[in-house]
């Protein structure tokens, strides 16, 4: 059964709409909302570009669809049929594109299309019970294939970002350290040069001085 529904813009992770009274009867709804937000942030950085994916988290699963730069995400129980969840998201997607498709890019404030929550609410009710005739027939509909949708774990997904961050951090550290190394090397080079030629130069200088002094005196 559907627990959470969120719609966000992929380009910057801006939330566009969210189901009404989502998170009811859930102890740790906030935790999952945080995860969803982190997920959106990851998406906005251009990772996980797979347009359909399921991500497991605790006793629940996030399913999401990315279409037309908008990410439609829902959180369901693990037992809830994947097929239904994606059909639910497709329903939302069709309606959302029809209603707001041309305004998505220009939305400037969070939850700009919060009015969509009434539709989410209504649609959610249709999918609430998996045993209604309507849903069973949908489940049996072979035309809709969801097998190839990848399932991953949320830690993994969110972790990818972290690991990438780490790598980029390390590489940037490497860059700066190598720059320091180059500086130091140049410095040492100069010192070596000085060490090598300084005595000669001094001797020469003394000799010239002597010559000059002799000339002056005599």
């Amino acid at each position: 059964m559907v627990k959470l529904t969120m719609i966000a813009r992929v380009t910057d992770g801006l939330p566009l709409a969210e189901g009404l009274d989502d998170g009811r009867d859930m102890q740790d709804a906030e935790l999952y909302k945080q995860q969803v937000k982190a997920l959106f942030k990851n998406l906005s950085r251009g990772q996980n570009e797979a347009s359909r994916m399921s991500v497991e988290t605790g006793p629940y699963v996030f399913h999401y669809i990315i279409e037309g730069r908008v990410c439609y995400l829902t959180m369901c129980d693990r037992a809830y049929p994947k097929k239904l969840a994606f059909q639910y998201l497709e329903d939302l997607m069709n309606e959302f594109e029809r209603g707001y498709g041309n305004q998505i890019e220009t939305a400037a404030r969070p939850y700009a299309f919060i009015k969509f929550d009434t539709f989410i609410q209504r649609t959610k009710k249709l999918y609430q019970d998996t045993r209604t005739q309507r849903n069973i027939s949908k489940l049996n509909d072979e035309l809709y294939e969801v097998h190839q949708i990848m399932t991953r774990n949320v830690q993994e997904v969110l972790g990818v970002g972290e690991k990438l961050d780490q790598v980029s951090q390390m590489s940037s550290r490497l860059t700066s350290e190598s720059r320091v190394y180059a500086d130091k090397a140049r410095d040492l080079n100069r010192q070596a040069l000085i060490k090598k030629w300084a005595p000669v130069a001094i001797v020469l200088g003394v000799v010239i001085l002597l010559f000059w002094a002799r000339k002056k005196i005599y």
Binding site: L14, A108, R109, P110, Y111, K115, D117, T118
Partner: protein, 959 residues
Amino acid sequence: MGTENPNRANNLQGPSATPFAAPRANMPISSSHPMVGSQTSAFRPTSVPAMPNASPFSSPGPTAGSGTPGFRPMQPGRATPSYGPPTTGPPQRVPAPQFSSTSQPTPSQTSHVGQPILPPSMRPPPPSYVPSVPMGSPPQSLYNAPSSNNPPRSFVDSPYSASGPNIQPPPSSTRPTYPGYPGMQSNQVNPPPPPPPVYNQGGYAPSQPPMPAPFSSHQGGYGQVPPVAPSSGMYGGGSAPPTGVMSGLAEDFCSLSLGSAPGSFDGGLDAKALPRPLDGDVEPSSFAGMYPMNCDSRYLRLTTSAIPNSQSLVSRWQLPLGAVVCPLAETPEGEEVPVVNFATMGIVRCRRCRTYVNPYVTFTDGGRKWRCNICALLNDVQNDYFAHLDATGKRVDLDQHPELTKGSVEFVAPAEYMVRPPMPPLYFFMIDVSISAVKSGMLEVMAQTIKSCLDNLPGSPRTQIGFITFDSTIHFYNMKSSLTQPQMMVVSDLDDVFVPLPDDLLVNLSESRPVVEAFLDSLPSMFQDNVNVESAFGPALKAAFMVMSQLGGKLLIFQSTLPSLGVGRLKLRGDDLRVYGTDKEHTLRIPEDPFYKQMAADFTKFQVAVNIYAFSDKYTDIASLGTLAKYTGGQVYHYPSFHSTIHKDRLRHELARDLTRETAWEAVMRIRCGKGVRFTSYHGNFMLRSTDLIALPAVDCDKAYAMQFALEETLLTTQIVYFQVALLYTASCGERRIRVHTAAASVVTDLGEMYRQADTGAVVSLLSRLAIEKSLSYKLEDARNAVQLKIVKALKEYRKLYSVQHRVGGRMIYPESLKYLPLYGLSICKSTALRGGYADAQLDERCAAGFTMMALPVKKMLKLLYPSLLRVDEYLVKAPTVDDEFDRVCRRLPLAAESLDSRGIYILDDGFRIVVWFGRMLSPDLARNLVEEDSATDFARNQTRRTTSGRVLSTLKFS
């Protein structure tokens, strides 16, 4: 100048510039004081109006005028230096020398010039008036000038005009203009009878304590008004004192004769002379005048827009020091608050104190940094927000940024300001359907009203709605959109209330509209025959809480009996006469059962605002029920002995307004102020979430909040104090916004200035809130006394400022800005919430009025305290032609018995109800035309009758 005597010149000019007061005979002259010229505006605030010294001026001032050569030299010095003395400069207005032209100039006077007779040490710089001396002209010219009746010019007066002849005449036309002339010795001798024109002495050295001065002239106040301080504007308007001595006091303050004035026959006071606020509330002009970028005074009003700079001033000010904030006040057409969207940039705020960017921040460093006006921290300007500065240090793109030019703006809140998606507007009704509710007709009126408002509920199509009814059981209604009729579910287990249905008790209005309408249509008939007298209020409240806690919203409770079942049951109290007047009296006005306060706290936490509509003819313990509204930012509506035929229109109007006015949801408000000032207490209907965060589940334009502030340090070093009110809320359309109001007020060192810039409306609003709060822990009498004492002390303090210099014995003096204060003070004491004792107002009415007054904005509060009274019979007889004629024909009358004529019809309007008063001798024709035949005769007997409706009103198109 050529003629000047060098020595003299030195003398005079010695200390940066010597002001001369050459005024009248009794004017002290002090010269040799550095304070010259202080007319400049800059000084105004610092001026201490007190009269300086005790040094009577033995020789008449005109000396200066005598045209002695020595004198003249001053001019040049004077003109410029006058600005010089920084803070000490007294803004004086210079009295015009008033000498009759006929008087002989006595050259002898010259000796006095410049040298004050008084010991300079005691004397603060005297008024710097220099009689005008035409420059460079031989003495004769001096004389000529007077004869021609030229107004004397004072150097001070026109510091800018260098040459004598150009000097402007003193502005006040009332003053006789005498050529500045010596020869006034005679004046000394003369008894004062020709009342000395009053001079307002604006300024003195601030530090100077007022000393008794023997002269009556008050120097100062006319002439160029410094732009900063609207001084002259505020004077005037006072009633002119009858006695000669007083003539002219109006320049500086108003006075009122309370005892018999000497020389007049009538003892006591003249009722007609009492100031009455017949024009309604007058907003102080100084607030916006001084700082044009301040937010409008409808949003924020300070009790005085001159902030005292020291603790001692605060304590001498006596009145509460604070602000009244109405964050969502209704704006007139075309003046909407501009909306600013920073989009991805994030809202620009100070890093340290979190102040929002406002018109008073200053950009420096080529536009790369901005300095916070509240905490003075230098912040970096983000790249997206950067703009170059022009030559004057202003941003070049100023016109594209309303947040930098307007005192009130709304920011679109980014996602960080949301803990959840914006909630939809939600209205939940909890309706008492016991026998009394049915019998009084309340149920029917209410159902009709709600139905008629369904179209206008804000926030469509997201609006949610739901209902619960209760008597001894609780009834839930399933309003699922697929149903045609609502399904009723009855829960009778009051000890363990549960919600019978997870969804569909709260439905989307646009989807379930037919079901909701069907419910409202059938509601009155459903309980038509209900004979249940019990009321399970507490359990029903808990049920409502369970249904609403998910989303929050507005809970409207319609209650017509005393809660009698389950948790939160209340018992009769307040019928014991003996409690009144004892220390236990106040307990009747506070909730008895902690259940209500606890529930209120829970409601606030889940963003539920509770509005109580109480209808009972018997005691319902509004004190307890109202607690729910008090802590959730709600409101209490009380209709004692509701009967649908009488109160129908009022209920309809108030309920419709409650449902349809623009409402802000799940809001929090915080007010910030500059360093050195701190908000100490908050008064109104809300819950404080932390020390200074006001939690408001719902706010609308009819709610205002008052707060008091105190100085944190003994001395304020800044010149200006800034205030910023920020309200973070969800608009009904689902946008999350931050409304920010910014205002600045200058810091003064002068008590008189504080009084001059006081705002009666704000003071009254704050005083009444304090009094009502006091009545919750003390006797009513104590609360009333506290109000009176405050006003008396304030007026006494004000009197101390001036009484020494004017003979005001037996007269009350008060600043123009506070002229209505005593009257409003009396109105507070006579208001329903505070008046009398046991018999004067029912306990419920008293408590309800108290809750109402705690929430009212300033204007409505003043109207409630001093309702408008109009005589309408003349208007009715004249057969109205044009609508706007009404305003012309019907003027507000003073609320005094003399205003009522037994042959007239009057309308009294206090903003909540309209009382139509039919005079006993009203012409029968008129009465018959207005009301039915039979009742017309009744009016002869019942001369007073209350009604809220009727043809009268519709005829008048009375709003």
